[in-house]
Every structure is written in structure tokens, then in C-alpha cells.
């Protein structure tokens, strides 16, 4: 078992599961959190992630296969996906791939799921196309507000981590999103994004 990443929430290992190359995601105990709170968060997110990863497959979105879940130890064995994180791609590639990201997010929302953690490091570009990861913060919801929170987070990530390309990348993202959700819903969600932005501290109130 080899540690590949110490993430914020979980440690990621490469390992073998029943003869298959696999990723082991362990949500480790956090000493800084009160025990009962920590257990609640880790168990909830492990179960939710496993469920959602499987469920989104039925909409035709590519996610890793779930091999095995141990909710007591907060462990998930997932299919190993080979490829590159979108975050680490060259800038012009990131811009283009934002359309694909928009389509995936649109499909999720169309089916009543918010992802909750849409960052460029939660997408892998592999041989099988674009794969979306990390459903620990995802939720079933039919609220426009929740979809808008997803979009705002993605915009925030572009704005902070990819500041040089934020305008273009955002246009391409919305393009893909609109293709799936249609004009009316897209406009509704987008106008809600600006509502949320205005709620921000010291935002310019028009």
C-alpha cells in the first residue's frame, strides 16, 4: 500500500483489491475534532460518497467504480483511474475542458444532485474521458440555491487558482452547463449565483 496523497479530508493510497488495482480512501480520525462530531462527519461522508458515486453512473457520468465500503473504518476501495488532474493541465486545455465540466455538472443538477466540492482537482482527464471524483460533500436537493452554490464555488476556484484564465474558462463552463439544462434553468441558476455573491462580505451592492 502506497500513500499517494494526504488530502484535506482523507488519505489516498494505491493498493490491490481482489486482484484489481485500486484506490483506498481512508477518512482518518482528526484529533482536533471532538470525537462524536468527528465520527458523525466521517461516517456520514463515507456512506454518502459511496452511494452517490454509484448513483451518478446511472445518469451516464463517468465516476470510479466502488469496490468495497467499510463504514466502521470510514474506508472506500475505488477503481484506480489513470490520468491527469484538470488543475495540472496547461491553461488553454483547462479552458476547453471547462465545457465538459459544465456538462457533467449540468447533468448532476438535472438529476437533483449537488456535488458540493467542485474544484479543478476533483476532475481527472483519463483515456475514458473526463472523470469526476470526491462526492463526500454531495447532497440530494432540488433547490436552485444549492445548484448556485456549486457554480459559485467553481467560479471561486477559477478566480483564485486560475486567475489568468477565469473569464474564458467561465464562459466555456456555462456553455456546457447550458447545453444540458437549457436556457431557462441556466439563467435562473446564474442569477442566483449573483444573489449569493452579493451576500458576500463587503460585496459591491448594486
Amino acid at each position: 500500500m502506497k500513500l499517494v496523497k494526504k488530502g484535506a479530508e482523507a488519505d489516498i493510497y494505491v493498493t490491490i483489491w481482489n486482484g484489481l488495482d485500486s484506490i483506498l480512501k481512508i477518512r482518518k480520525k482528526k484529533d482536533y475534532r471532538v470525537h462524536s462530531l468527528d465520527m458523525r462527519i466521517r461516517t456520514l461522508r463515507t456512506i454518502r460518497e459511496a452511494k452517490m458515486i454509484s448513483e451518478t453512473k446511472s445518469f451516464g457520468i463517468t465516476t470510479p467504480l466502488v469496490y468495497f465500503v467499510d463504514e466502521k473504518k470510514c474506508e472506500i476501495y475505488l477503481q484506480l483511474i489513470k490520468g491527469k488532474l484538470v488543475r495540472d493541465l496547461p491553461l488553454n486545455k483547462i479552458i476547453k475542458i471547462c465545457t465538459e465540466i459544465g456538462k457533467i455538472v449540468g447533468t448532476l443538477h438535472k438529476n437533483g444532485i449537488m456535488h458540493g466540492d467542485l474544484t479543478t482537482s476533483n476532475f481527472i482527464l483519463s483515456d475514458q474521458g473526463l472523470v469526476i471524483l470526491d462526492f463526500g460533500l454531495s447532497q440530494k436537493t432540488d433547490k436552485i440555491d444549492d445548484y448556485a452554490i456549486d457554480l459559485r464555488l467553481f467560479k471561486e476556484v477559477l478566480n483564485s487558482a486560475h486567475a489568468q484564465i477565469v473569464e474564458d474558462a467561465w464562459v466555456f463552463f456555462v456553455l456546457g452547463y447550458r447545453k444540458i439544462l437549457g436556457n431557462m434553468l441556466t439563467e435562473k441558476v446564474l442569477s442566483h449565483v449573483s444573489v449569493i455573491e452579493k451576500r458576500g462580505r463587503y460585496a459591491n451592492v448594486v
Binding site: 488543475r87 471561486e156 486567475a163 463587503y202
Partner: protein
């Protein structure tokens, strides 16, 4: 180079003289007067600005005296132009303008949040940190990228300082309420389940505020303990996400709530896990003070001339991520 900085964004009126030699700054004096509202009440903007106006001349003369300088020795005058309470901001701006025009000294409007960060960097020696700014006015996770401080995460509603203050005021404590809540929290280890809301790198405290109010009747100590644990774990997780995403090797925490020891211990344990250096602004300079403003004035003056008196503004809503940083 000698600079006078004037801070008057909220409850603190402060003047400070800072000297800059090369990249290093030295605080020669930092005098503060803090407006104290009656117990159980928050800042009344008009009363606070009256307090600032009445104390401004005394604070200014004490600050100059302590630094052993006269006004004509100053090279730069800077004032906090926002974000903050309008009436309070205007007092600081008026003092700064008067001095600048009468003594003909270049004047610089300064973003208050930037002051927290840059003074924190100077005093701790952090080079390229992820910054957590936690105060009554801000709860933001920031990193510097191509000329601006970029927001990686922030609160979607109220700030951490507001959360603590509102719970404190609800219980009849004197503001700022953070220290009292910290003290009470130490007396309990009984955790009551409260809503924990992290959305990506962002946090939301409003539900936590209402829920905490509901558990106060069952015991203030356990309510304070549970409130701190929940809120700080949330901000800890958001920070950890941002650390892991940006791959920064330093974390700097600044702002009034940086003085909380429980928050520091959570953050330093996160840093240990990510092999990252942890810096916290020294307690006496974590909260609002003139040194922060004065230091930015010095940094700005190294890159551009002061602005015309007619352009000196105050801006209640002035987001940090809109400020271009040249130094």
C-alpha cells in the same frame, strides 16, 4: 521612512508610528482607545464615531510622544479607508486629511484587511503563506497570486467574530465577547451536537448561531464549548482543504479571533499533518491597530506617490480581492 497610520474602522481608534528600513519595519508606538458598548449590546456606529472624535487628539499626541517624533518628521500618512462603519471611517479620514494638508505630507488610503495580513507577515516572517483572516468583519482564506490576494474560501453569511459576539451579547456579556466565551468553554467537555456546514472551501455560520442560542438554557459552559468546537472545526476543515488544494507550505492566521488559543491549537495540528509552518499574528497586533495601517502606507509609498486630497475616500464595502498590490 516614518509613517503615521490611523485606524478607525470599528470599535478601535488607534494611531501608530512605524519606521521602515529596507524590507523591515519597526513599530515605534501604537496607541489605542477602544469604544465599549454597554453589556449585552453591540457597536452603535454613531456612538463609536463620537468616541473616536473625542479621543482622536489625545491618541494622536500620545502616539507621537511615545515614538519621540513630531508631525513634521513624518514622511507618510495613511488611514483605514474601508471596509468598516461609515461614521467611524470618516473620523480617521478627517484626521488624516487635516494633518496631510496642513503639514503637506503624502496621504494614502489603506484597505483594513490588507493591513491585518501584511503586518502579520512582517511580524512573523512568513514568506508566501495561505492566510486565514478571522475577525468581526472578515472570515476569509486567502493566497497571493498575480498582484492580488485571491479568496479561496470565505463565510457565506456572518463572520466568526460576529458569531461569537452575537452569542455573547445574547447572554449579556460585554463586547468583544470572544475571550469570555473562550474562558467559559474551558470549563466544559460536554459536546452538544450542533449544525456543521462546510460547502467546499466555504463555511456558513448562521444556522449554528440559531442552534447555539437554543442550547444555551441547558448550560452556558457546554454551549460555549460546543460552539467553539463546531465553528473552529469548520474553519479548520475549510483551511485544510485550501492548504491541500494550494499546496502552500505556510499558514498565517490574523485578525481578532487569531488570539483564541483553541483555534490556534486546531490550526497548528492541521499544519503538523501537512508539514506546513504555522504562524499566528502576535496577540497584541492580532486585533485592529494603527500599525497595520501605517505599515501598508510605507509599503505603498515605496511604489507610488500619495493621492490628491480631493481623491481621499472612505468606502464601507471594499473587498480585499479588488485591491491591486504592487509591492
Amino acid at each position: 521612512m516614518l509613517s503615521l497610520g490611523i485606524e478607525s474602522t470599528a470599535h478601535t481608534f488607534s494611531c501608530a508610528v512605524v519606521e521602515k528600513k529596507g524590507r523591515q519595519g519597526k513599530i515605534l508606538s501604537d496607541v489605542r482607545k477602544i469604544y465599549r458598548p454597554p453589556e449585552g449590546e453591540g457597536i452603535h456606529p454613531r456612538e463609536a464615531s463620537r468616541h473616536h472624535a473625542e479621543n482622536s487628539s489625545q491618541v494622536l499626541s500620545e502616539c507621537l510622544k511615545e515614538a519621540h517624533v513630531t508631525i513634521s518628521d513624518l514622511d507618510v500618512i495613511s488611514y483605514a479607508a474601508g471596509p468598516g462603519l461609515g461614521p467611524c471611517l470618516r473620523i480617521g479620514a478627517v484626521v488624516a486629511r487635516s494633518l496631510s494638508s496642513y503639514y503637506d505630507i503624502p496621504i494614502y488610503p489603506v484597505n483594513h484587511a490588507l493591513g491585518h495580513i501584511e503586518l502579520g507577515k512582517m511580524l512573523t516572517g512568513a514568506k508566501d503563506p495561505l492566510v486565514l483572516l478571522v475577525s468581526g468583519g472578515h472570515t476569509m482564506i486567502l493566497a497571493f497570486l498575480s498582484k492580488k490576494w485571491r479568496v479561496f474560501g470565505e463565510t457565506l453569511d456572518i463572520t466568526l467574530g460576529q458569531l461569537l459576539d452575537q452569542i455573547g451579547r445574547y447572554s449579556g456579556f460585554a463586547s468583544p465577547c470572544g475571550p469570555r466565551i473562550e474562558e467559559l468553554a474551558l470549563k466544559s467537555t460536554e459536546y452538544v451536537s450542533l449544525p456543521y456546514v462546510v460547502k467546499g472551501n466555504d463555511v456558513s455560520f448562521s444556522g449554528l448561531l440559531s442552534a447555539t442560542k437554543r442550547v444555551i438554557p441547558k448550560g452556558i459552559e457546554s454551549a460555549c464549548f460546543s460552539l467553539q468546537e463546531t465553528a473552529f472545526s469548520m474553519i479548520g476543515e475549510a483551511t485544510e482543504r485550501a492548504l491541500s488544494f494550494t499546496g502552500k507550505k505556510e499558514l498565517l492566521v490574523v485578525g481578532g479571533v487569531a488570539a483564541n488559543r483553541r483555534l490556534s491549537s486546531i490550526l497548528s495540528s492541521i499544519c503538523a499533518r501537512h508539514n506546513c509552518k504555522f504562524f499566528a499574528a502576535p496577540k497584541e497586533y492580532a486585533g485592529d491597530c494603527g500599525s497595520q495601517i501605517s505599515w501598508i502606507g510605507l509599503l505603498e509609498s515605496s511604489k507610488k506617490p500619495g493621492i490628491d486630497l480631493k481623491d481621499t475616500f472612505v468606502k464601507q464595502s471594499w473587498r480585499l480581492d479588488t485591491v491591486e498590490v504592487l509591492y
